[in-house]
Each structure stands twice: as structure tokens, then as C-alpha cells.
Amino acid sequence: MEYLIHIAILISIYGILGLSLNLVVGFTGLLSITQAAFYGIGAYTTAILLTGTGMNFFLAMILGMVISGVCSLAIGFVLSKFKDDYYALGSFGFNVIIYSIFLNWQSLTRGPLGIPGIPRPSLFGFTFSENIWFLLLSIIFLILVYFVCRFITGSSFGRVLKSIREDEEAISVFGYRTLWYKLAIFVISAMMASIAGSLFASYITFIDPSSFTLSESIFILAIIILGGLANNKGAMIGAACLILLPEILRFVGFPDDIAAQMRQVTYGVILILLMLYRPQGLVGEYKL
């Protein structure tokens, strides 16, 4: 069961990431490709605090969210000056910059050596060292994040976001200060990604910069496009699919000497086919 529990934990973590990105990309229409940066900030904060000071996991998670929130406020503010495709590029840029910080601020993050020995969360004397309990913890956070997202997107705040997506100029004419809304959702999204990062760091017990690259951000984007933009359930289903797909491919009998690469080829081809035949995503509402 260990293997399945592990997959389920990964699905929960990426589910949270997908939900968080969906708020910004799917509902507000901002093409942000830097989610891995906030994921990483959450992970590194948790890792450094847990290994350096023995702080409680949940406290460290909150601190991670604060730091992520502050960074995202600054980044979101700069990004708001960009239009459309330049927004995406600017966000790429921030991802690379933050990745460089993880890699090169070695006195803090130990750079490529990474931070090993991150302890599991403990609460009132109970430690989540068995993976099954950690799965429970992850699922609880996933459900929490899901309901927060559902609340946001169903509220009037959410309606403003969707209007920004559809026609920002129109709604600002009505007196809505769109900048404030865009920043708010960007910060909320970053804080959720940070939660996922904290969970990730404590679960794997070792983190290094290679988990927070631009490719990771692209992967998270692929999750929500696959699942269906602007659909909270879709984000979670997309995460499940993109995590399960490579695992299923492990059991396809490719010849040993090229198996790993053949799986990549198959993965790429399936992505292409999915886009060709189901471009609105598996449960998409937002007709792209």
C-alpha cells in the first residue's frame, strides 16, 4: 500500500497547487507561470525553520505563507504592469530569479546540496511519521483549500475576477479597482502554493532547488489546462491524471534500455492527443 499512499499524497499536494493556480489563471485570466516559486518559498521556509530551529510544522507553514504572501505582493504588483503575453514572460522571469536565489544563496539554502532531514509534522505530541497519517493530513489540507477556492469563486469577489478575465477595461469603467483584485487573488494563490510546499518539504524530508524550476511551473499549468480551466474539481482531477499517467506507464512493457525515454515519448504524445481531442480539459467549463 505504501506506493499507493505515496501517489495519493503527491496527488493531494499537486491538487492544492492546481487549485491555487486556477484562481489566478482560470478565473482571473492572468497567465502566471511562476507558481513553483511560491511552492518553493513555502518548502524552503518550512525546511529551514524545521531543521534550524525545531519550530512546529504548522507554525512554520504559517510563516511560509506570510513570506510567500509578501513576495507575491511585490511580484504581483510588478507583473500587473504587464499586458497579456508579457505577463507570462515576466512571471517566467520571476520564477528564474527565485530559483537562482534558492540555488545561489547557499548560506541560507545550502544551494544544490539541498536541505535534508526535514522532520514530519507533530501536533500535541502526535507525529505524522506514518505515511498514512500524512496522507490524511494532506487530504485535510486539500479539502480546506478546495472549499476556500469554491467559496472565493462562488462569491461576488469571484464574479469580479471572472469579469476581469472577460473584459478588464469594461469592469474598471464601473469603478472596480481591478489592480486590488488581481493582487489579492495573486497573494491568496501564492499562500496556497506555499501550503503545498510545506507539505512537500516535510513529506519527502529533503528538498533542493531542482524541484522548483520553470518546468515545474509549466507542469502545474498543464495540470489545470488538462483538468479544465476555471473548474476547481478539474484542477484536482488534472493533478490526479498527470501524476497517475507516468506511473501507469511504468507498467507498460517497454524494452529496458529505452524504457525511461519511451515513457517520456508516450507522455508527450498523450498530452498532444488530449489537447487535440479535449482542449477544454477533462471537466472544463471555460470554453477556451
Binding site: M1, H6, G114, R278
Partner: protein
């Protein structure tokens, strides 16, 4: 396909997957006691895939040789990709132990062992790790198949630091911003007591600029702690800019990857006089021959280590894990292709080292080098 069918379809898919997994592999913790199941967890995609593929080739050759020498033995392997990444590695590890129920795991990636070592110790199966293990090194069932960074790099650093022909020149140290080479660099820094200037390489483009800097900055000596191909590119670029090569000193990566180095540099005679760390190796010629016959090319970086890892695992095999581990602790083979094989108290490899000089484009071991 209608929307409402999607969610049930996914659920059915997930159930199918679970079913397949369990029927396929249930209870096969080696029901056949005379057969061995090895898990090979290597970086086969991503930045380290060249190394992973090489190790796999060396391992396959070793398996061929073993099967020929022991007809009737039954060895199966399960190969999984960890992409030199902790998350992928943990997934691969869980699959290998939970689903495939392998008897032992042979692996390379440092981030992965750092993430899984507690689980490995709990499982008790012998795990042979090629890369450095940075945390939790102890007398347990994890064996590190390369010496701790301190040993060879420290040796090189002290050797160079004792040679005025080297340290009296302006010294540059070039290394990659990667976990393995960063550890090597730190070991160098701790052991080389004279001045030097570090150059950190993030991508291959940097090599050209550093070569310019080194040539222009009149550095007379360069310590190259790099993968063979980066080392070759650096040497090539320095040669282009400055026909008088500085004195080069390489770490042990050059030896295991000498074929790759030569392929990229072109003519190894260009670096005659360079110094390198060297592990005294065993039946290398035979290995090279067999490798060339099987794959049609010279053995590349780390193929020799892969070959030896399989042999170490198979020659110490015992169906009882504790006995197997204990056999490995006591294992000694002076004729390993990558060098003499034995482990210290913490399961870290001990290798006798010496300094070599490049003469006529080949690595020639020597005890005395006049710089």
C-alpha cells in the same frame, strides 16, 4: 465524450490501475529462493541521464558476465528512472520495494538517498549507492560505492598544496554548481591551504567566459573539478584563447570518463603534463574490450562503477538480508574495474589513490611528479 462521464471514467481507471498493480505483483517477495531480483534506480532522464545510461550499460555488461559464469542462476532486474530528483526517486523507491519487492537496490542519486535513507534502514535490504550520501552516514545497510569526497579530493588538495611548482602559480578552481561537485569543492577548500580563485559553472556557456578569464588573468594552474565533458570543453576553450596551457589538475572524474573527455577534446595529447587523481584499477583492459564488443564504443563515465556495483552485490548475495549486508561489509576485491573495492565501518568505499600524469595522451600513474 460528455462531461458527466469523465469523473466515473477516471474512477474506473484508478480502480483498474490498483487492480493491475495488485494482481501483477502480489506476494512475489522472491518466491524462488535461488533467483535474485535487483532494483536499479538511475537517472535516465534529465540532466544526469548521460551518467545514468552509462551506469546502466556497465551494469548490463556485468549481468551478462555473471550469467555466463553462473549458468542456471536467475537474476531479474527492474529499472526505474529517478531523474536525479528526490520526488521522482521516492516514487521509484516505493514502487521497487512495495510493488516489485526487489531484494536489493543499486542507485546513484544523492538527493534520492538523502530522502529515503530512513526508509531504507528500516527495510534492511542492502542498498548500494554510487553518489555521495550526505546525511545519515552510519554503520547500516547503505553502502556508498564512491569514496567520501574528503578522501580523493583531500588527497589531491594536500598533494597540490605541498608542491610549489603548483601553488606558486596563480590558481583557479573550476567546478559545477551541483551537489556532488559542490561537496568536492568544499573538501578541496578545506584541504588546500593556499590561495585560489573559485569559478562556479552553471551552464556550458560559462566555460567559454571562464576560459577567457583564466587565460587573460594569467592563471598558471587550474584545478578542474568537473564532469569529463565540461572539463574537456574548458580545456578546449583555454587552448583556443591561449596556446600556453596552464597546468591542469583533474579530480577522479577524469579517470572514469577519460573516453568521454577524449571524445570532446579531440586529441588528449594537447593536455600532456596535466595531473589527475587516480584510483588504482583492476582488469580494466578486459573490461574495455568486452564493453567495446557489446556496445561498439569505449566505456564512458561511470560505466566501470556500474559494472563493479553489480558484481559486488551478486558476489556477496545471501537470501537473508542481514547476512547479505554483513557479507558486503566484509567484501574485498582488489581487482574491481573502477578500483579496489572495500568498505569502511560506515559502508563508505575505501580506494587507494595515486597521482597520475598525462603522457602521450594517456593517464600514467606515477609516485613522483616534478612540477
Amino acid at each position: 465524450m460528455k462531461n458527466k462521464y469523465i469523473v466515473p471514467a477516471v474512477v474506473v481507471l484508478v480502480v483498474l490501475v490498483i487492480g493491475v498493480l495488485y494482481f501483477n505483483n502480489s506476494g512475489s517477495k522472491n518466491s524462488n529462493p535461488s533467483s535474485i531480483k535487483l532494483g536499479l534506480m538511475l537517472p535516465l532522464t534529465g540532466d544526469y541521464s548521460a551518467a545514468g545510461q552509462n551506469i546502466q550499460k556497465g551494469m548490463e555488461l556485468a549481468l551478462d558476465d555473471y550469467r555466463k559464469a553462473h549458468p542456471g542462476s536467475s537474476i531479474t532486474t527492474v529499472i526505474e528512472d529517478d531523474a536525479y530528483n528526490a520526488k521522482m526517486g521516492v516514487t521509484a523507491y516505493k514502487k521497487l520495494t512495495d510493488i516489485d519487492k526487489v531484494d536489493s537496490i543499486l542507485m546513484l542519486s544523492t538527493p534520492v538517498i538523502d530522502a529515503i535513507y530512513k526508509d531504507v534502514v528500516k527495510s534492511g535490504i542492502p542498498v548500494i549507492q554510487l553518489g555521495v550520501q550526505t546525511v545519515g552516514v552510519a554503520d547500516d545497510n547503505i553502502f556508498q560505492f564512491s569514496p567520501a569526497a574528503e578522501a580523493p579530493i583531500g588527497f589531491l588538495a594536500r598533494y597540490l598544496g605541498d608542491n610549489s611548482g603548483f601553488y606558486s602559480k596563480k590558481v583557479a578552481v573550476v567546478y559545477d554548481n551541483s551537489s556532488a561537485q559542490l561537496s568536492f569543492f568544499k573538501a578541496f577548500q578545506d584541504n588546500y591551504k593556499k590561495d585560489f580563485t573559485p569559478f562556479i559553472v552553471n551552464s556550458k556557456n560559462d566555460l567559454q567566459d571562464y576560459a577567457s578569464k583564466i587565460a587573460n588573468g594569467k592563471y598558471g594552474a587550474v584545478v578542474v573539478i568537473e564532469s569529463p565533458q565540461n572539463g574537456a570543453l574548458l580545456a578546449k576553450d583555454i587552448l583556443t584563447v591561449d596556446s600556453t596551457m596552464p597546468l591542469l589538475a583533474f579530480d577522479a572524474q577524469l579517470q572514469t570518463g577519460f573516453a568521454d573527455f577524449g571524445r570532446i577534446l579531440g586529441d588528449t595529447n594537447k593536455i600532456n603534463g596535466a595531473i589527475s587523481m587516480w584510483f588504482k584499477a583492476g582488469k580494466v583492459d578486459q573490461f574495455k574490450q568486452e564493453f567495446k564488443t557489446k556496445y561498439g564504443e569505449d566505456p564512458g563515465f561511470l560505466t566501470d562503477f556500474g559494472y563493479d556495483m553489480i558484481n559486488a552485490a551478486l558476489n556477496t548475495y545471501d537470501k537473508n538480508d542481514a547476512t547479505w549486508v554483513s557479507n558486503l561489509k566484509k567484501f574485498s576485491d582488489p581487482n574491481g574495474v573502477s578500483g579496489s573495492i572495500s568498505f569502511d565501518r560506515d559502508g563508505v568505499r575505501i580506494q587507494p589513490m595515486t597521482i597520475t600524469v598525462i603522457k602521450n595522451g594517456q593517464l600514467v600513474p606515477t609516485d613522483q611528479v616534478n612540477l
